[in-house]
Amino acid sequence: MKNRLKVLRAERDWTQANLAHAIEVSRQTINAIETGKYDPSLSVAFKLARVFELPIEDMFQDTEAT
């Protein structure tokens, strides 16, 4: 699964720590998601969508489907 988290975060000038705090995960988790080492649960994906005010599909792309 690919994601645009790093780009979206940079556009808003947020640090990984800011984002981690906002969705109540560790900074390590944000970094692992951004680098594609870890795919988040639906719960975390929805929290990210809320924080970025975007639909989930605008943030995550299923690479197997494309």
């Binding site: 906002a22 109540e24 390590q28 970094n31 080492k37």
Partner: protein
């Protein structure tokens, strides 16, 4: 974003609190184990009711420690839980496989000393720590 920053509970402070609580109950459990193990001989001269009380206290504190560990794990975020889960799986697997082989060594006379449970616990603890370090590096 700012509201979410303000409203969100602080994961780091919650983890810190849970870690301290777990550490304290862990220490209490070790102390109760020492009391149950050495109390009969050194303090109450094998008085049966006191020995039973010592064992019950050790069990009670042990169960409280387990409950604190559960709270600690539940308080972590999902990636941290995954790292802990993988480390525990490694530790349990290695403990089971190596533990049984170790026991076998004595049965088939390849070693002369009797395998002890503490050896297995030390092995599992070391394996768990290695699993945590590996997990931490994998998701860095």
């Amino acid at each position: 974003m700012q509201n979410q920053l303000n409203e969100s509970a602080n994961l780091a402070s919650r983890t810190k609190t849970n870690t301290i609580r777990l550490g304290l109950w862990n220490a209490a459990w070790v102390l109760s184990m020492v009391l149950a193990a050495f109390g009969p001989k050194l303090i109450w001269d094998f008085n049966t009711p006191l020995s039973v009380l010592g064992v019950l206290l050790n069990l009670g504190v042990g169960f409280k420690m387990i409950s604190c560990n559960k709270a600690y794990l539940k308080g972590l975020d999902e990636l941290q839980q995954k790292i802990q889960f993988e480390a525990m799986a490694l530790s349990l697997g290695v403990g089971l496989v190596v533990g049984l082989s170790y026991e076998l060594l004595e049965d088939i006379k390849l070693i002369t000393f009797e395998p002890e449970i503490p050896h297995l616990i030390i092995l599992m603890a070391i394996t768990f720590m290695i699993g945590l370090i590996m997990g931490g590096k994998r998701y860095q």
